[in-house]
């Protein structure tokens, strides 16, 4: 079966990517991140998941289905109301993070069949999603920040996360109920064409970077998110800087050694070579 996680993240301060209806930042096996003005499929999954949460909550607090109403009819009633609506997305672009991976088949517990989809309160299933989506989101947002959107990229608003299980050979999702988080935002701007190209390049490079370097976007994002707590913000940023230096130094050491050696007189080059090997 497949575990799939879709995050929909509103960037209110990024009003458009000039020249792009959709800007794909990451497109790799099992993970994809794109900027768009509208994303009907992701929005549908998030609305269904949010409605499922409201349905479960109403059951937990003792609200009964009106007489004769099936769970699906109850779901549709909630879906059509405020609980099924997404926050206003007119202002700002959407970042869609879509990750999926194959996992061992298993029977889900506490499943409610709602027709063409289902929901589950299976706590164990929640552990199958890991932090890949979060890492992809940090990578995409860091790429945007590096392309010129300092602050903007880290100050978005999480509209929802839909974690789902899909049986092999099926497209019918079972939504797993999990917690959510949200953030606030600041000023507004547009993503210029050159910045869009830069963001795509940076996202691609970050996504393909060695594993140790992939901690850096997370630490950078963490530092920015904690910017009102100077100690946490500084420690995260400094740790990111140390990791960056450690992870990249070897690449630049060789060229530095070569340039130093070429500047030495021939009589000293042998000594330098011995020192470099010691």
């Amino acid at each position: 079966m497949r575990a799939r996680s879709i995050e929909l993240y509103l960037l209110p301060s990024l009003t458009q990517a000039i020249g792009h209806d959709q800007l794909v930042l990451i497109d790799a096996t099992g993970r994809r991140a794109s900027l768009t003005r509208a994303h009907d499929e992701a929005a549908l999954h998030i609305r269904r998941r949010n409605t499922s949460g409201a349905l479960v909550t109403s059951s937990l607090v003792g609200s009964e289905c009106p007489a004769g109403q099936t769970p699906r009819e109850r779901f549709d009633t909630i879906f059509a109301g405020p609980a099924g609506e997404l926050a206003d997305t007119k202002d700002g672009m959407l970042l869609v993070v879509d990750c999926e991976r194959e996992i061992a088949d298993r029977e889900l517990d506490h499943v409610v069949d709602l027709g063409d989809f289902a929901l589950s309160l299976d706590a164990e299933a929640g552990t199958n999603f890991g932090d890949m989506a979060r890492q992809v989101r940090h990578t995409a947002l860091t790429a945007l920040a590096l392309a010129g959107f300092e602050g903007v990229a880290h100050d978005g608003k999480m509209l929802g996360i839909a974690n789902m299980m899909i049986a092999t050979g099926s497209e019918r999702p079972t939504y797993i109920i999990t917690p959510q988080a949200s953030f606030t935002m600041s000023s507004k701007s547009s993503l210029l064409p050159d910045q869009a190209i830069e963001a795509v390049k940076l996202a691609h490079a970050l996504d393909k970077a060695p594993k140790n370097l992939r901690h850096v976007p997370r630490l950078l994002a963490q530092s920015h998110e904690n910017r009102l707590q100077p100690l946490s913000a500084f420690i995260s940023a400094w740790a990111g800087l140390e990791i960056l230096i450690g992870a990249t130094f070897e690449r630049y050491e060789a060229s530095w050694t070569a340039s130093i050696s070429s500047a030495l007189p021939p009589s000293a080059q042998n000594v330098a070579a011995v020192c470099a090997q010691s």
């Binding site: 530092s223 100077p230 913000a233 800087l241 960056l244 690449r251």
Partner: protein, 71 residues
């Protein structure tokens, strides 16, 4: 031989390779940040509320970005 360079030496080499024109200034900033970091962790002689998070982030963003354009 491992660790024949100090952290500041490594940064200086990386900065010189990635931004030769701005390296001197960034090395000075890095040295100052490292001093603040050491003073805080080793002697607790820095006010935590005055730790320079934004300056550190700016340096990290700059060199992460420059490095990524090289790979």
């Amino acid at each position: 031989m491992k660790d024949k360079y100090r952290l500041a030496d490594k940064f200086a080499i990386i900065a010189s390779a990635l931004d030769p024109a701005g390296a001197d200034q960034d090395i000075a900033v890095f040295t100052e940040l490292k001093g603040i970091r050491d003073a805080f962790f080793h002697a607790l002689s820095t006010n935590p509320d005055q730790l320079p998070g934004e300056t550190t982030r700016r340096l990290l963003r700059k060199y992460l970005s420059l490095h990524l354009t090289q790979i």
